[in-house]
């Protein structure tokens, strides 16, 4: 049943893995790479081991196992520059990556560049001259950071020198070494997936690479040790409140954020409820993501793509590679017969409409219309129904009722085959199956009964289907439908042209190329399912797609809010004021714009009981220094003022209304930004004005995005007195509630306020 069919245009090339005896050098290389990069799984992300004979400009010659690079062009002008990339990009799992290049000969002028570049960057150039390209040049010692103009960086280098390049993937920086000496940081903010690259420009230039074949001149192990220790210390010293319960709170937070990330909506909700936490993401947004994930995991890629486009406009526009990946998956699902376009050829599913009332456009895509026809709809009615029915087993809660358990149709085989696979994998993907069925329905094998389920019936149905299926041994392309096959071919062509466009616009991308080739290879076999590329049809392959899309959506929503929402509120909601903590302690500095005086204070804040305690230090011109304690009890309408040295106390009626440190619900969103410099990572939101309690007061408040702690408040009281308060060293909770009890001296308190100024 297998065997490649000849005459097919896009045949997969067969990769032969020769059993070459490992030479000593290769053994040494393997050993060194393993010890340097123990976290790298070379099955998934191979390490660079040599220069790529394919990914180079024609003026570059390779020899000595593709480790030696020489220049073979004219070398008259910079237009004759030529580069070569390594076989693979630097895997992120390296943490710290290092390679060395020895200058065998500087040739005529020694215009050599050593560095990094992304896939697709023009090879008729020296590294560093173009976007996503970085280089250190021998003739002038300058560093080139995606620019034709270099910056003074290090010494020049020439024949006999060994230049090393170290990429730190932890902080995304790069430094070079010369003859074993570190030259200091050359580049920061590097993008991921860079390839080691060298470029030459004049005749006679020859360089040798060392990707680990030999011991390095620079002690990279020592550098790695430092970073390991650093990271370890960072973990060890991660600040966790000393107080009771804070550990627990943090772990709960971690669990909750995991659940939210993966859209385990109901679980997250239940967990949040039982642990008394706020869910930071809007529930609607979680549900949206859940919906999309469901579609992907059930193989309904077309719908998934459209839903994504609708809910998160410009997400896919900005990520053409992601869109391409989704489309390739859609193509595979078409082959599988699961994608909505082939499954529902010619008609709209009433069920689908039920489940997606908000997105009627889904089944009205122009492409779809073009290929649909009434005839198909009727003739494939049964098939369609079967398709839905079979996918129900693992996804849709709504379909099982509508489908008659047995329809002896030859096309069924394909679909049942798929379902068979799905049930096989379901135990491995317990969580996934569990979560997208959350709240509604079926999950047959993981034993979780989520909401109202028709578990038993479902299983029976399944069995019934299986019986029928077993009679059918043959699975067919696109569910066997001719129209679907045509649609699939057409879609394949669209995909091909999309790939070409992508390459034109964004340069070569070997991952995309391979993806497309593999997908098309499916058509080369009469039974794609049992072909060498058949693994793609396995529903487990939907998971990486699903998680990539999910992460992209999350990142997108975050950046969308972070960038102060450049897009109208279509999918993502406008920022809502966060809820400030009710109890905290910390320090403040209040600046009075009128007097220009700063007052420092330690503050205990208890919104739950509407009370504030302030320990204030008033300093005037030296030597005056006065300490006053204020206890505001808003519920009792009393203010105690205590002079700290004598404990003299004044009790004053409190006329002002309770006004918490928070962002009132009707506040106006002003801005969102990071405070501090690079790496400080404290993101805050600025809100302004007009809480009901402060009718005529202009107010601006800055609160942290993460936990909604106050950072800064400025407000003008009665349009005359303006104060700005900065908050810092805040701690959650009240360490000693006793601070709100006035001292005994207040029993015989005076009733007028004491002068606090110096």
């Amino acid at each position: 049943m297998s065997g490649p069919s000849s005459g097919c245009g896009f045949l997969m090339s067969v990769v032969v893995h020769g059993d070459l005896a490992l030479s000593e050098q290769e053994k040494e290389l393997n050993q060194r790479l393993r010890s340097l990069y123990p976290a790298v799984n070379e099955q998934e992300t191979p390490l660079p081991r040599s220069w790529s004979p394919k990914d180079k400009f024609s003026y570059i010659g390779l020899s000595q196992n593709n480790l030696r690079v020489h220049y073979k062009g004219h070398g008259k002008t910079p237009k004759d520059a030529a580069s070569v990339r390594a076989t693979h990009p630097i895997p992120a799992a390296c943490g710290v990556y290092y390679f060395e290049v020895k200058i065998i000969s500087k040739g005529r002028d020694g215009y050599m560049g050593i560095g990094l570049s992304a896939q697709g960057v023009n090879m008729n150039r020296l590294p560093g001259w173009d976007k996503h390209s970085y280089g250190y040049h021998g003739d002038d010692g300058h560093s080139f950071c995606s620019s034709g103009t270099g910056q003074p960086y290090g010494p020049t280098f020439t024949t006999g020198d060994v230049i090393g390049c170290c990429v730190n993937l932890i902080n995304n920086t790069c430094f070079y070494t010369k003859n074993g000496h570190s030259l200091g940081i050359a580049f920061t903010d590097l993008p991921p997936n860079l390839y080691p690259t060298v470029g030459l420009q004049t005749p006679g230039e020859v360089v040798d690479a060392n990707f680990g074949q030999h011991p390095f001149v620079f002690d990279i192990e020592d550098y790695m040790r430092e970073w390991r220790t650093k990271i370890q210390a960072q973990i060890d010293r991660f600040p966790i409140g000393e107080r009771e319960g804070e550990w627990q709170a943090m772990i709960q937070k971690m669990v909750a954020s995991y659940l939210v990330h993966h859209s385990y909506c109901a679980t997250a909700e239940a967990f949040a409820k039982s642990t008394d936490q706020a869910v930071h993401e809007e529930l609607a947004s979680i549900k949206n993501r859940q919906k999309i994930q469901k579609l992907v995991l059930s193989g309904r890629m077309g719908e998934a793509i459209e839903t994504t486009q609708q809910l998160y406009p410009s997400l896919l526009e900005r990520n053409p590679d992601l869109l391409f990946m989704l489309k390739v998956r859609q193509f595979i699902e078409m082959v599988n017969g699961t994608d909505s376009e082939v499954r529902c050829l010619g008609g709209r599913s009433p069920k689908s409409q039920d489940s997606y009332p908000g997105s009627p456009r889904l089944f009205n895509s122009p492409v779809h219309k073009a290929s649909s026809s009434q005839t198909y709809q009727t003739s494939f009615d049964g098939n369609y129904c079967n398709g839905v029915s079979s996918s129900k087993g693992h996804t849709s809660a709504h379909s099982h009722k509508s489908c008659p358990p047995t329809i002896p149709s030859p096309e069924l085989g394909v679909l049942n085959g798929i379902r068979g696979q799905l049930t096989n994998v379901s135990t491995e993907v317990e969580m996934e199956v569990d979560h997208f069925s959350n709240g509604v329905s079926e999950s047959s094998s993981n034993g979780f009964l989520n909401g109202s389920s028709t578990h038993g019936i479902d299983l029976e149905e399944c069995d019934a289907d299986m019986e029928v299926d077993s009679a059918q041994s043959k699975r067919q392309l696109c569910g066997g439908s001719q129209a679907a096959i045509e649609r699939m071919i057409q879609f394949g062509r669209e995909l091909q042209s999309m790939s070409e466009n992508l390459r034109r616009e964004r340069g070569k991308n070997s991952a995309n190329k391979k993806m497309l080739k593999d997908a098309f290879s499916l058509l080369a076999y009469s039974d794609p399912w049992s072909s060498p590329v058949g693994y793609q049809l396995d529903s487990i392959q939907r998971e990486p797609v699903c998680s990539t899309l999910n992460s992209a959506i999350l990142a997108f929503s975050l950046s969308a809010t972070a960038r102060c929402l450049g897009f109208p509120a279509s999918g993502a909601a406008a920022p809502q004021p966060c809820v400030a903590p009710l109890q905290w302690e910390g320090r403040t500095v209040e600046y009075d714009h009128g007097t220009g005086r700063n007052t420092r204070a330690a503050v205990s804040y208890d919104a739950q009981n509407q009370r504030i305690r302030v320990l204030e230090q008033k300093t005037g011109h030296t030597p005056c220094k006065k300490f006053f304690e204020y206890i505001y009890l808003f519920k009792s309408g009393v203010l105690f003022q205590i002079e700290e040295i004598t404990k003299q106390c004044a009790k004053i009626a409190l006329t002002e209304a309770w006004d918490p440190y928070d962002i009132p619900l009707n506040s106006t969103y002003e801005d969102q930004y990071f405070i501090g410099g690079p790496g400080d990572m404290i993101e805050v939101q600025e809100w302004s004005d007009r809480k009901p309690a402060r009718k005529n007061e202009a107010w601006v408040g800055v609160y942290t995005l993460k936990d909604c702690y106050p950072v800064q408040e400025t407000y003008t009281k009665n349009s005359s007195v303006t104060t700005s308060t900065r908050f810092f060293d805040l701690q959650l909770g009240i360490s000693d509630p006793g601070v709100f009890d006035p001292p005994s001296t207040c029993q015989s308190a005076r009733t007028e306020k004491m002068m606090s100024d110096c």
């Binding site: 010494p155 000496h181 570190s182 030259l183 200091g184 020592d222 220790t229």
Partner: protein, 688 residues
């Protein structure tokens, strides 16, 4: 300051503040029942822990002598003696005043005596207390060395326990401050005894042992040479140090290990091109200068690095390109930063405290980096605001900063290009001159040495400096007690006189005075003598100058020349003197001073036949100037010289094996017009 026992009146006044409980503790030390005394000491121990007030009270109440008495009494139980040592150790942990009081009560000999006991717990308690006392800056280090039996005994205690190891090595590390201390410790086997501790399981022991080696090896060739041959567990000591510099080791350990290797290298025990220096120590020290390190570490790192590479141009070149060191150092000048002032007072204090140290360390390192390589100097002067920083550093209140700034300036002043450009643009001579008016000798030495370079003929700063009254200042330097200052003073004058106007030369001679000139010509320091002769040579250049100077000071100069030629001096000195004579012989009127001095002519004759070619050459030079035949009276002079037998000598010299000498003799013989080249001395760069 509290003394061991306070004077009576003071005692009463202080006592009034002392609480009754403190008194109670002391009273119990005098209880007749030893069991009660023990309990009293234990209670006291618990009462003083972490309580500085209580510690001060007990000292005021006279607890220390009593505790020491109990500690020393052989009738006291071992337990009591140990507890006494513990309490004393606790008291020592308090303020510096506490330590002073303890030392005044002779706690050190008492505790050292205690070490002779065999009980380990007691020994450890004594050592812990001794350690705390000795590491205090108020304790005189010398107290460790007064009794010659102490060091060997401490060495023998090293094997007792990890605690004894930790305390003893810590004491050594703090009390080894002079070459004499190093020798004492070395002679008592410090190296063999402490080396094994470098691989102790206890980090504290390893660290203190390492510190011992860094203080032992500092500028000590004997120790350093021994260290390279020491094996620890079969491994060379330098390799052990290299391992301690690994980047995942604690910073303190990396830095101290780097210091050890630096000192060993500077003492000549490790070559500067050894991998452990080039690839390990140097990069480690550069890392210590990075912004991530604490301010103290950055200071130590920079100072050690400066010291390491001072004599080696290759290390300077490597360091100059390592991790952007030159620009990294610019950051040393940014403390206290404007941020630290705002954020908190503590940080501001901390920054202020270290600001001077940071600046002087950076200047030192720049000085070391730029001492040889022209490209590095250029890189340094091009660093942001560098020249401005040096200029302001020259007038800082801290002597350390001023000294380092002037060292840096001196290093950069060796560059002809910098002298011509940045030095002139920033008018560095102004603060430099100001600095020279009033500064300690060590600053003066550096400043005057720099001035020597600024006075070089091609330096554009020479003119303005001359106009600012530098001659008087330099002349006063020549009267200094410090030979280095005298050299620099006369050296600068010598440079100034090179191809100078008549006016300047006259001014120099006037300001210096012949008396001082003579004094310098009999200076015990050869360097001073050489430069003074050089000055004379430069003064006696072109013919009109020669005649003028000789007409006013001829007699004295001839006397001085005679004295030197007759005295016990090196070949160089005599050669220089003969050259002066040759210059005099070139004058129109001046040459008569020689021609009429038969004694001098005899001397010239003597040197023409000297075994040293240089002296022969210089003397022949002199004669050929005298017999020059285009001048008035040349015939008479030639006659006289022929009569004195010079022709024979010249004849002989034409057969000399040395081609120069031979040529010169021939030329003289032919009486051909021979213009004597100005025999001037010009020394390019000030060395100090």
């Amino acid at each position: 300051m509290m003394a061991c026992l306070l004077e009576a009146p003071l005692r009463i006044s202080v006592l009034s503040e002392v609480t009754a409980t403190s008194r109670h503790y002391v009273d119990r030390l005098f209880d007749p029942d030893p069991q009660n005394v023990l309990q009293g000491v234990i209670d006291m121990k618990n009462a003083v822990i972490g309580n500085n007030r209580q510690k001060a009270n007990l000292i005021v109440l006279g607890a220390v002598p009593r505790l020491l008495y109990l500690l020393q009494q052989s009738s006291s139980s071992l337990e009591l003696r140990t507890e006494c040592a513990v309490v004393l150790g606790s008291l020592a942990m308090g303020t510096e005043n506490n330590i002073k009081s303890l030392v005044d009560c002779h706690i050190i000999p008492a505790l050292l005596q205690g070490l002779l006991c065999s009980d380990l717990i007691f020994i450890e308690a004594c050592l812990r207390c001794l350690r705390t006392v000795f590491i205090s800056p108020v304790t005189p280090v010398q107290l460790l060395y007064t009794d010659p039996t102490v060091i060997p005994h401490l060495m023998s205690l090293l094997s007792r326990s990890q605690h004894t190891q930790e305390y003893i090595t810590q004491i050594f590390a703090h009390c080894c401050k002079t070459p004499e201390h190093q020798t004492v410790l070395f002679n008592h086997g410090a190296i063999q005894n402490i080396a094994p501790l470098l691989i102790s399981p206890s980090f504290k022991v390893r660290m203190q042992a390492l510190k011992c080696f860094s203080v032992l090896a500092y500028e000590n060739a004997q120790v350093s040479m021994t260290l390279v041959n020491v094996l620890v567990d079969g491994e060379q000591l330098s390799q052990v140090f290299v391992r301690m510099m690994q980047r995942d080791k604690p910073i303190e350990m990396q830095l101290t290990a780097a210091k050890c290797l630096t000192y060993m290298c500077r003492a000549g025990a490790i070559r500067t091109d050894d991998n452990c220096i080039v690839l390990k120590t140097l990069p480690c020290l550069v890392r210590m200068c990075s912004k991530e390190r604490l301010l103290e570490e950055r200071v130590e790192g920079a100072e050690t690095l400066a010291y390491l590479m001072e004599p080696d141009i290759e290390l300077q070149r490597i360091a100059s390109v390592t991790d952007h060191l030159v620009s990294m150092l610019a950051d040393y000048f940014k403390y206290p930063s404007s941020v630290s002032a705002i954020t908190d007072i503590k940080r501001l204090d901390h920054d202020l405290k270290h600001a001077h140290e940071l600046r002087q360390a950076a200047f030192k390192l720049y000085a070391s980096l730029g001492s040889n390589d022209e490209d590095i100097r250029k890189k340094i002067t091009e660093t942001e605001n560098m020249m401005d920083r040096i200029v302001s550093g020259l007038s800082e209140s801290s002597i350390k900063v001023r000294l380092a700034a002037v060292r840096c300036l001196h290093s950069l002043s060796r560059s002809v290009q910098q002298l011509r450009t940045s030095f002139h643009d920033h008018a560095v001579w102004k603060p430099l001159m100001k600095l020279l008016q009033n500064a300690p000798d060590e600053v003066l030495v550096m400043a005057s040495s720099t001035l020597c370079n600024l006075l070089l003929e091609f330096s554009p700063s020479k003119e303005p400096i001359l106009e600012s009254g530098v001659i008087e200042l330099l002349c006063s330097l020549t009267q200094s007690d410090s030979p280095a200052l005298r050299v620099n003073g006369i050296w600068a004058l010598m440079n100034m006189a090179f191809q100078a106007d008549q006016k300047v030369k006259v001014e120099i001679v006037r300001a210096l005075g012949t008396e001082q000139l003579f004094r310098l010509l009999s200076d015990p320091d050869t360097n001073v003598l050489m430069k003074t002769l050089g000055l004379l040579r430069n003064l006696l250049s072109t013919r009109p100058h020669i005649d003028q100077v000789m007409s006013s000071h001829g007699k004295q100069i001839m006397q001085a020349v005679t004295l030197i030629l007759e005295g016990e001096h090196s070949i160089e000195v005599k050669e220089q003197t003969l050259c002066i004579l040759a210059n005099i012989a070139d004058g129109n009127t001046a040459k008569e001073l020689i021609m009429t001095n038969d004694d001098m002519l005899q001397k010239i004759k003597y040197y023409m036949g000297h075994s040293n070619v240089k002296l022969q050459l210089a003397a022949t030079f002199c004669i050929s100037n005298l017999i020059w035949n285009e001048e008035d009276g040349s015939q008479e002079r030639q006659d006289k010289l022929r009569d004195m037998g010079f022709v024979d000598i010249l004849h002989k010299l034409t057969q000399a094996s040395d081609p120069n000498l031979c040529d010169r003799a021939k030329t003289a013989m032919q009486h051909t017009p021979w213009w004597i080249e100005a025999l001037m001395l010009w020394t390019p760069f000030g060395e100090s």
